[in-house]
Each structure stands twice: as structure tokens, then as C-alpha cells.
């Protein structure tokens, strides 16, 4: 047995790892690097939307810094910070009442980091736009796309989706999408020529088309709007392949303008006598309740059409009960793990009807940052309170000694 595997040696390695990870120097380096990352991300927002910056700098393994150099992205850095805090602030620190404040404060910071990770991993955010008297049980993503395979089954609609995140390879290659983990669907489909922003064109309109032409049309690539990511309209080509029958090809495009124009027309194909629809759409989620807009109210600044204040009177319909709620700026509706914010409004140019736009978020760690602030505050109060007490006692002792 080598020395390394002896208990004493293993213990030494463990202490060495703890010492390295929990070193104050490592923590300072990480915090300094985080500062650089934040600075680089801030500068990047000159040309990039906040969403893209968040994805590229803080929710990534690597991030572009300066002068073409790449460094670690937010994910590994935050993970390292978490580890360092665990090692340095929890495991290495002596657990006695004198260090209670430090321990509690570190727990609070860890909770804050954990809240960030849970949000990154499990939260969703989207929008719904409603005219008065309209209701919805869905909301859609601002930025994310998905492909949905749909089957109409009487009055039911059966659908399976694959997120665009999993189709990244289709930008400059292809991705084969299987028909479910257990092969539930009798076909698979190939996704290729994924474009983040494009528009369909009839093939007759131009020459030298470099994109595939399907049914006399092709997708014309457009520059991706990096500053307003939500205005981009994705498109892609798909090829459905089944065990028998020919390969069926189509162009999919995700255009819509809610609440006036919905992307509701899937490409329809048939496999083994069954009809299926395939569509590219903004990622869609279900609400656990129905949201109905009863009235939209807007007050303008005097003599102008500029809104001074606007709010929405909605009814939350759930389990046969109607709950009237007023949603306005900084006064969201929080229900069933969802937060519904009043974000904007618009007007239908055809009939001047107003519609209200709500941002809807679902974040399991929504309240964690608030709790972590309390925990950190308690920790700091304990620590500095103890220090203050010690100082006062020392002063008192000094004064007693002097006497």
C-alpha cells in the first residue's frame, strides 16, 4: 500500500485540499476575477442584450473577456466561490460560539449563491399579452424556442417538445431528434440550417440562393439583433424520417406577434397513417390557473399620450373560483409559485383597443435572496455584536486596571 493511501496520508491530502480551497487568497482572487467578469459583461452590453450577456458571461463555462482572451465564465467561478466558502467558512473554521456569527454569515452567502443556481437551473420567465375579456392559461418565452410535435386527438391536443438549447448543433450542422425516450413516436426528424433570425422568401424572388429550397421557398438569413434579442425570429429546416415512406421536408418559422397574431399553423405530415404537426414556436408553458384581463386602465400625462400610470384588473380563475386582482407597477400577483408583473401595454392599430402585457416568472428560489439577506444580517450582527461586546469589556477592564 503506498503512503498516499495510508489513513494519515489521506488525512493530510484532505487537509491540504481544504487548506487550498478554503484559502482566503483563493477567495480574494475569485472575487477579483468576478469583478473583472462583471466589468467585461457590462462593457459587452454596449453591443449585446442583457439576456445575451447573462448567457455568455454568467451562465457559461467560459466567457470572452478583453483583446480576444477568454476566461472562466460565471458558472465555474460561482462554483469555485461556493466551494471556497464551504471549505474556508464552514469546514475549516472552528465550530465554537466565538465563530457563530461568521458561520451564520457564510451560510447566508452560501444560500444566496444556491438561490442563484436554483434560479439558473429551474426558473422560467415569459410573457402573456391579453386584450380585455381575453384569458390565457399559457405564457411564452421572450427569447427561447422549441420544436413541438403535435397530434390532434379529438378535443385533446397531445404534444411533445424539444428545446432549442438541445438543437444548438443545427446552426452549422444537424441534430437528429428521436421520437421520445422510449421511441413512442414512429419517426425521428433531422433539424438543420437553424437560423436565429430569418424570414421566408419565395425562391423565385432572388438568384444565387445559398439556403435549401423546400416547396418553392427558402429561409433568408437576417442579421441577429443582439441588442433586442426578442425581436429575432428563428427558423429551421426539418426532415422527417420513418422506417418506411419517403423523407418529408419542410421549413419551420416562428413568427408571431401576440396578442394579435399567433403562430398556430403547424406543418402537417403523415407517418403510418397518422397525422402529425410540427411547429417552431417560442417556448410555451402552462399556468396552474387561468388569467383573464377584465379591464386595462391607463392615465396619461396631461396633454400627451404618454402613460403616467397603467394597471390591469384581472381575474384569476382556479378550481371553479374567481379571484379579482389588480396588477400594476411594483405590485405583482404572486400565486402558485408564479409571479405576474405588469410590464407594458400596446394598442391594436386597427381598432385602437388596448392590450396589457404581463411578464410571468416561475422561480422556486424567488424568496431565497431575501432570506439569505436576513441570515447574513443575523450573522454579521452576532459577529460584530460579540466583537463590540469584547471591545467594551476590554475597555472596561482597561479602565478598571488604570484605576
Amino acid at each position: 500500500m503506498s503512503d498516499l493511501l495510508k489513513p494519515a496520508a489521506a488525512s493530510s491530502i484532505w487537509r491540504s485540499v481544504l487548506a487550498s480551497l478554503g484559502s482566503m487568497k483563493v477567495a480574494v482572487v475569485i472575487l477579483l476575477y468576478l469583478g473583472i467578469l462583471v466589468f467585461a459583461g457590462t462593457i459587452a452590453q454596449i453591443d449585446m442584450s442583457a439576456y445575451d450577456v447573462q448567457k455568455r458571461y454568467f451562465e457559461s463555462w467560459t466567457a470572452p473577456l478583453f483583446f480576444g482572451l477568454h476566461g472562466p465564465g460565471g458558472l465555474p467561478v460561482m462554483a469555485m466561490l461556493f466551494l471556497t466558502l464551504v471549505c474556508g467558512g464552514v469546514l475549516r473554521v472552528r465550530w465554537h460560539k466565538g465563530n457563530l456569527g461568521i458561520l451564520v454569515a457564510h451560510m447566508g452567502i452560501l444560500l444566496l449563491l444556491l438561490a442563484g443556481y436554483v434560479k439558473y437551473q429551474f426558473s422560467i420567465s415569459g410573457m402573456v399579452a391579453l386584450f380585455e375579456t381575453e384569458s390565457s392559461q399559457n405564457f411564452v418565452s421572450f427569447h427561447e424556442w422549441e420544436l413541438a410535435v403535435i397530434q390532434q386527438d379529438g378535443l385533446a391536443v397531445r404534444e411533445r417538445t424539444v428545446s432549442a438549447d438541445e438543437l444548438d448543433g443545427a446552426h452549422d450542422g444537424y441534430v437528429m431528434v428521436g421520437g421520445g425516450a422510449h421511441g413512442e413516436l414512429p419517426f425521428s426528424f433531422l433539424v438543420h440550417h437553424w437560423l436565429d433570425n430569418c424570414e421566408p422568401q419565395p425562391a423565385s424572388s432572388t438568384v444565387n440562393i445559398r439556403m435549401p429550397i423546400v416547396d418553392g421557398a427558402y429561409l433568408r438569413p437576417l442579421d441577429t439583433n443582439l441588442r433586442k434579442r426578442e425581436v429575432n425570429i428563428a427558423g429551421c429546416y426539418v426532415e422527417v424520417r420513418a422506417a418506411t415512406g419517403p423523407v418529408q421536408k419542410a421549413i419551420l418559422w416562428g413568427f408571431e406577434s401576440r396578442p394579435m397574431l399567433f403562430n398556430d399553423a403547424p406543418w402537417v405530415f403523415e407517418v403510418a397513417g397518422q397525422r402529425y404537426g410540427l411547429m417552431l414556436r417560442r417556448k410555451t408553458w402552462q399556468l396552474p390557473f387561468t388569467l383573464r384581463l377584465d379591464q386595462f386602465k391607463k392615465q396619461d400625462h396631461p396633454g400627451s399620450a404618454m402613460a403616467r400610470d397603467f394597471s390591469s384588473y384581472v381575474t384569476v380563475q382556479e378550481a371553479g373560483r374567481d379571484l379579482p386582482v389588480r396588477i400594476f407597477m411594483n405590485n405583482p400577483l404572486r400565486r402558485d409559485g408564479h409571479v405576474v408583473y405588469q410590464t407594458q401595454f400596446g394598442q391594436d392599430p386597427r381598432n385602437k383597443r388596448y392590450y396589457s402585457v404581463f411578464e410571468i416568472g416561475r422561480n422556486p428560489s424567488d424568496a431565497w435572496p431575501e432570506w439569505s439577506c436576513y441570515v447574513i444580517a443575523v450573522g454579521l450582527l452576532l459577529h460584530f455584536g460579540r466583537k463590540l461586546l469584547g471591545y467594551i469589556r476590554a475597555q472596561a477592564r482597561q479602565r478598571a486596571g488604570a484605576l
Binding site: S16, L21, W61, T62, P72, P76, M127, A129, N138, S141, V149, I150, Q152, A156, V157, R158, R160, T161, V162, G169, H171, G173, V175, M176, V177, G178, G180, Q201, P202, S205, N208, R210, G216, R220, N225, E230, V231, N232, I233, W253, F255, S257, R258, P259, M260, L261, F262, D264, A265, P266, W267, V268, R275, Q286, Q344, G346, P349, R350, N351, Y355
Partner: protein, 542 residues
């Protein structure tokens, strides 16, 4: 540094994984049809909102040039040559793909010269092509095209880029000729306009819609995308200025003092606006009955009233004597929509007919029509929903004309089918106007001149066909004839003092297909937008 720290740093800088080439569909979710409303079996055009290209271009052929029939199959959407010089060729090619660099390399290659760098391209002299800032390129030497070498040739090429599409006006010929006609070429380039229902000039920037049409993530909101119009040839289109309430903007060519613009949905109510308009001419407002008795003119699919004012026009603190204003207004829910035309009195009077025609041609968006055959031909601004995009006068209440089985169309509600007619799609409206689809031999020019003659209008030349406005009628390039005059129809004996003829005609499969709308001028004018949409909606019956 300890080995642990080094290994952690290596981990730190590890790159992300390569994207996977395999994915799986997620678990099945079952929803009700109410939760997920779907439109099944939409055509590709309906699904992808594709409209067949209906681009039309007009230009003013300069002195020394002659216009030739376009050859779109050879990418010559407009075509000219120097008069009597068949070695010269000048043509518009709209929207060639492949990107600018590849095209520049090709042009230089035709003269066996190395291409330019991107910065050198940017440094070329500026010129505007179809409303987009572009550049002018001059090359000379041995010109090689279609395998043929020509010494002593020159090329003038105006180009502009819209996304990855390059629009060019190319003029080639013997060096001396090209040099002599350089100024004329530049004037020609400046005169080219994209016109016609359903076409907007190429946009230089991406202007897509987001998931919502709200103030920050708005739909395609360029004014030219919200409204379209058939610009009269004597009017030149100017960039809209919605911040100054000019949602569409024109002026009379060569008359910079004139201004004509569409303003949609101004608040304040009709009375306050009328007070303002009359106030601009220092006049008091007449009785409501007088106003109501003014001429009715179509605007954005609604019947509007025409105001005519003359005198000293005061606007923006500047008084102008001898001015006139023609103004068509409609009002809905206290929102006033106007088309206003101001300028020197004689200029405004001279262009009154064009102004009225322009008013009738304005439509909201690139409207949708449905046929019984399909629900396609949809390309509309994001702000318009399919079912409501059509102006009110053209409801998508489709029906076939009983006696016209070969064609179907979307027919306005207030048009009445003509019983027992042998003509296809034969309808009447108003107090004596009628519209029908007919087919003749394929001599377009001869027939156009017969129709013109029936209203006392002089004949036109073949070259004039190229510059006539175009409309879609079973294809993208039917000419649109809009004339007024005294009707004396030699075939039917019909007579009418104040007649208007709207006619769309194009040769389809060797046959001249036309849609003719004839009647009292005011009635026909009020139906102009509906006429254009009717023509666009016509399909051969399945």
C-alpha cells in the same frame, strides 16, 4: 503552487462541451383544444406568411435612353439602352443574393481586375438606390460576359445592400458612350422607385416582430409596412416621418413646396381638427351641413369627405399666399385620419385627380384576401390579424359567381352579382357601376388604347406600359389603368359624362385577362382600394 491549485485552475479554463447531434423529444403533454388552438392544413404560403413577389418598379427614362421590356428571367427587372446603341445595356436587378463581396468580386472579374477590400468599397462615391444608401462603381477595360470579350468597354454600377441582398443598376457599353451618359444614368438611378400595392421599398435594417407588439418589443412598425399605396407617377415618395404624424409622405416631383401626407388616428375630435384646418387659411368653419355635402372620397377603405381650401396658408408660423389644400378625412371614435395635400394653388389643382386616386389606393398593411380555394397569399404587418386585415369594404365572404366557374375571388359585400351574365365575376355597385373579368386576344397595348379611347384619352406607346402602375392579377405584373373622361363606348353605345375606368390587365398563358370597373367617377374612385384587392384575390377555380 500546489498541485491541487494547478488542477483547479485547469478545470477553471476548461471549455464547454460540443453541441450534441442527437436530442430526444420530451414527455407527452395533453392539453385541450381550447388551450392550444391550432390551424391545421395551412398552405406553405399561409404558414410562412409568404407573399409572391409583387414588386413593381417605376422610373423616369432620361433623355438619350430608351426603355425596353423587362426580362426578369434574366434578372433585368427594368431595362434600358442608349437610344440606337444596341451595344449598351442598362438594367435594374433587385435583390441578388450572395452578399456584397462576392458580387463585387464578380464585377471586377468581368474586367479581369482584382476585387476591392471592404474599406475600399465603403470609400466609393455614394449614391441612393431604391431609397438605400449605396455606392457607385466605375470600371473600364476589357469587359467579359457570357464568354464574349469586348475591348474599350466601361461599366457604371450603382449598388445598395439590404441584408444579404444586393440591388444594382448596371450600365455597360463602349467607354465613350457610357461616359457621355453618366449624368443621365445617375438621374435614372435616382428616379427608380418601388411602388405598387403590397410592396415596400427594401428596408435597410432588420425590423422583425417580437412575441408581443408592446412598446418595447414592438412588431414591424415602419410606417411603410403599416400602410401601402399606389403612388401616382407624378408624385415622389419621401421617407415617412411618423414623429411628425406623416405616416406616408409624398411631394409632387419637381415641386419642393408641395407636401402630401397621410396622418392616421389624430385625437382631439373632428370639430377641433376642422377648426384648425380652416384656421390655417384664416377662414371660418361653415355649417355642418355644408361640410357633410362635400365630395366623398375613399381613404383607407372608408368613405371620407373632401375639403378644398385656398388662400393664405399659415403653418409653422409661416404664411404662404396663393396656396391650396386638398384634404380627405375620416373619423372613427374621435380619431381623425387625413390625407392632406398642400402647395401652390395651380399645382394642387393640376394634381387633384392624382391626389384622389392616391387616397383611394391607400390600404392598411399588405392586406389579406381569402379565396375559396385556399387561405393563402398572406403577408401582413405583425400588427394585423389575418381575419381583420382586409379593410371593411372587402369582407372575406367569398363566393363564386354563378356564371363564372373558371375563377373565384373575394368579393366586397356591397357588390351585387349580375344575374344571368355571360361574363366572369360580373358585379354591379352604386348607381350604375359595374365590374367584371374578361379575356381577349393577347395584344395588351392595342386593347389598352381601345379602352383609353373609350374615355377620350390619347393612345400610349409600348414603352409606357413599363412605367404604368402594376397590380396583381393571376400574376404579379398586370398593368393598372385608371382614367377619367367622357364615356362613349362604341360597342355598347353607353354614354357617361363623368366616367372613371379602372382596369387591370395582363397576358396569362397567351390570353389577355382583364378586370374592368367602369362607372360614375366618384363611385369608382370610392371602390379603388376594393378593386385592387379584388384583382389580387382572383384565382383560377380548382
Amino acid at each position: 503552487m500546489s498541485s491541487v491549485k494547478i488542477s483547479l485552475l485547469v478545470l477553471f479554463f476548461a471549455a464547454g462541451c460540443r453541441p450534441s447531434a442527437v436530442a430526444e423529444l420530451g414527455p407527452e403533454v395533453v392539453l385541450s383544444s381550447e388551450q392550444r388552438k391550432l390551424t391545421w392544413d395551412s398552405s406553405i404560403n399561409g404558414r410562412l406568411l409568404i407573399q409572391e413577389p409583387v414588386a413593381k418598379w417605376t422610373s423616369e427614362t432620361p433623355a438619350g435612353f430608351e426603355s425596353l421590356p423587362p426580362a426578369p428571367e434574366r434578372f433585368r427587372h427594368l431595362l434600358w439602352q442608349v437610344k440606337g446603341e444596341p451595344d449598351t445595356e442598362c438594367y435594374l436587378t433587385a435583390g441578388v443574393a450572395g452578399g456584397l463581396n462576392a458580387n463585387v468580386a464578380r464585377w471586377f472579374g468581368q474586367f479581369d481586375k482584382p476585387t476591392l477590400s471592404a474599406s475600399a468599397i465603403d470609400a466609393l462615391p455614394a449614391i441612393t438606390v431604391l431609397g438605400i444608401q449605396g455606392h457607385l462603381l466605375e470600371l473600364n477595360g476589357t469587359y467579359t460576359t457570357s464568354g464574349k470579350k469586348r475591348n474599350g468597354f466601361a461599366m457604371l454600377l450603382a449598388f445598395a445592400v439590404d441584408g444579404d441582398l444586393v440591388t444594382t443598376v448596371k450600365f455597360t457599353g463602349p467607354e465613350a458612350l457610357v461616359e457621355r451618359h453618366k449624368a443621365a444614368f445617375q438621374s435614372l438611378v435616382g428616379s427608380i422607385r418601388a411602388t405598387g400595392v403590397g410592396f415596400t421599398n427594401p428596408k435597410p435594417a432588420n425590423n422583425n416582430a417580437g412575441p408581443t407588439a408592446g412598446p418595447t418589443a414592438g412588431p414591424a412598425k415602419s410606417s411603410s409596412a403599416e400602410f401601402s399605396a399606389v403612388s401616382p407617377l407624378c408624385f415622389e415618395e419621401l421617407p415617412p416621418a411618423p414623429e411628425r404624424f406623416r405616416h406616408l409622405l409624398w411631394r409632387v416631383k419637381g415641386e419642393p413646396e408641395t407636401e402630401c401626407y397621410l396622418t392616421v388616428g389624430v385625437g382631439g375630435g373632428l370639430r377641433a381638427n376642422i377648426d384648425r384646418w380652416f384656421g390655417q387659411f384664416g377662414q371660418s368653419v361653415p355649417d355642418a351641413a355644408v361640410l357633410a355635402a362635400s365630395q366623398q372620397v375613399s381613404l383607407l377603405g372608408k368613405v371620407g369627405q373632401l375639403l378644398e381650401l385656398s388662400g393664405t396658408f399659415t403653418a409653422a408660423g409661416k404664411a404662404r399666399e396663393g396656396y391650396s389644400m386638398l384634404l380627405v378625412y375620416t373619423v372613427e371614435n374621435d380619431q381623425v385620419t387625413t390625407l392632406k395635400f398642400t402647395g401652390a394653388k395651380d399645382v394642387v389643382a393640376k394634381h387633384k385627380d392624382e391626389f384622389l386616386a392616391l387616397s383611394g389606393s391607400i390600404t392598411a398593411g399588405l392586406a389579406t384576401v381569402k379565396t375559396t380555394a385556399d387561405t393563402e397569399v398572406v403577408k401582413q404587418p405583425a400588427s394585423l390579424a389575418p381575419a381583420e386585415a382586409t379593410p371593411p369594404k372587402v369582407a372575406p365572404a367569398d363566393h363564386k359567381n354563378e356564371g363564372s366557374a373558371p375563377f373565384v375571388a373575394a368579393v366586397p359585400k356591397d357588390w351585387q352579382p349580375k344575374a344571368n351574365s355571360s361574363k366572369a365575376l360580373h358585379y354591379s355597385f352604386g348607381q350604375g357601376s359595374e365590374i367584371y373579368l374578361g379575356q381577349l386576344g393577347n395584344d395588351l397595348l392595342a386593347n389598352i388604347n381601345v379602352w383609353r379611347g373609350s374615355l377620350g384619352q390619347p393612345p400610349i406607346e409600348a414603352a409606357d406600359l413599363v412605367t404604368m402602375p402594376k397590380v396583381e392579377l393571376l400574376g404579379p405584373d398586370a398593368v393598372l389603368l385608371d382614367i377619367t373622361g367622357k364615356l362613349e363606348d362604341p360597342f355598347t353605345g353607353k354614354k357617361l359624362d363623368d366616367a372613371r375606368l379602372l382596369l387591370a390587365a395582363g397576358v396569362r398563358d397567351g390570353t389577355l385577362v382583364f378586370v374592368k370597373c367602369l362607372g360614375p367617377a366618384s363611385e369608382v374612385l370610392a371602390q379603388r382600394a376594393a378593386f385592387v384587392q379584388f384583382c389580387e384575390s382572383i384565382r383560377r377555380a380548382p
